[in-house]
Symmetry: C2
Subunit: 215 residues, 2 copies
DNA sequence: ATACGAATGCTCGTCTGCGAGTATACGGGC
DNA sequence: GCCCGTATACTCGCAGACGAGCATTCGTAT
């Protein structure tokens, strides 16, 4: 827990993992990762690949093995994971699995500023989101069923999790939407008034001292 | 949907929102945002505050109103949101609410590389995570109940959502853990073998062509 | 044979994120 | 009246991230 990871980009973990199977040159890592769909499990930007690889090498987690050309192609450097690299990857994986981190999604951000829009507009937006979520769920479920035949369960777990979270979100949105539509959400008119006038009732302005518990 | 946001950092949205209530100088924005707990709804780094404010000004979303010193304090510049700024904030909010985005959490990343660890270690790690999640849920629920008395529902929605998602995750982890402990998860021994030998059965190596549906 | 589009494999420059540091002012204990 | 801790208010500089572009090669239709 002491020092931050020397190469913090998650792409680095992906690289260590994939190059752990056999030595590879960067472009091959990219292809394999893409083919395995890892780019959907991590926020991977391919523009960062060579920077990350170079950094991994600089910190001794990856080492160049061979550097030659084949055919007329530009020079390729093949990298191998070092022992330190393997250890780093394992340790990183352990941390990711064992330690939940607060990662506010952009939806939370949206919810937390939605007061600025009126409740009616918010309803419309949420309906839109709900439809999108359902389309996505549908596609994901279908894809998962297709892959079940091909791949061991171990490789499908991330997809199952993603689907579960997506379902949970959809359910929650449906609930909120129901409250809004049926008018059981408290003080919709106050909210509408706030939208028009921009004024918060003074006692609410004191929300400045919202207590927050220690983590 | 055409052009990317001129200032992409979510801190900018927070700034626009808070300065929309009344003109403020940067440090005051920070205090108010912190006091309202917005820093838990968005990935806010205070080091970026002044950069972000300057960028907002550069793009005409914020404008300097007054710039003087009081007491012996360093000079402060007070900013006001422009019409363009208000519009940008609303539009951004709409997008955040209506459009779900894939934001792979670090847990997904962990799941997608957990094959490298053995199943037994994974079980231990997941148990650890589950406990942490439950502690966090407990604290969050308690805090929410406390705030219910003070604040209108509108300001609590984000917390409710966060709790719901946390519950969903905990439930899913419990499920996976049960499968692992009871041995109903398929081919645990294959997994253990892979861990030791580092060899993947060749037919699985073809997972390289995992089909992915279009979004 | 040849032309053209797609795939391969990589580089570069910009932009900005953000951690760490700094400097002053105020309050309150002794 | 002095000192120290804490709050206030910012500045700086480096390290990455990553979009866009570039050069080469291969496949294939003509």
């Amino acid at each position: 827990m002491a020092k931050r990871r020397r190469v913090a980009n998650l792409l680095a973990l992906a690289v260590l993992t994939v190059a752990g199977q056999r030595p590879m040159h960067p472009y091959e890592m990219a292809s394999v990762l893409r083919a395995r769909g890892k780019d959907e499990d991590m926020p991977i930007k391919w523009g960062s690949l060579y920077t990350v690889v170079r950094n991994l090498e600089k910190h001794g987690l990856l080492e160049a093995v061979e550097s030659g050309r084949q055919g007329g192609r530009p020079e390729r450097t093949v990298y191998r994971v070092t022992d330190a690299g393997r250890e780093e990857a394992d340790d990183w994986t352990r941390e990711l699995l064992s330690t939940p981190v607060r990662e506010p999604s952009s939806f939370v951000a949206g919810l937390s500023v939605m007061g600025g829009l009126g409740p009616d507009e918010v309803m419309a937006l949420l309906r839109e989101r709900l439809e999108a979520l359902e389309r996505r769920l549908d596609a994901a479920r279908r894809a998962l069923e297709g892959e079940r035949a091909q791949l061991p369960r171990l490789f499908l777990v991330e997809s199952e999790y993603a689907i579960a979270m997506c379902e949970a979100e959809a359910g929650w949105v449906r609930g909120l939407l129901a409250e809004l539509t049926e008018g059981t959400f408290p003080d919709l008119d106050g909210w509408r008034a706030y939208r028009r006038t921009g004024t918060v009732p003074p006692e609410v302005a004191d929300l400045a001292e919202r207590g927050r518990p220690a983590d």
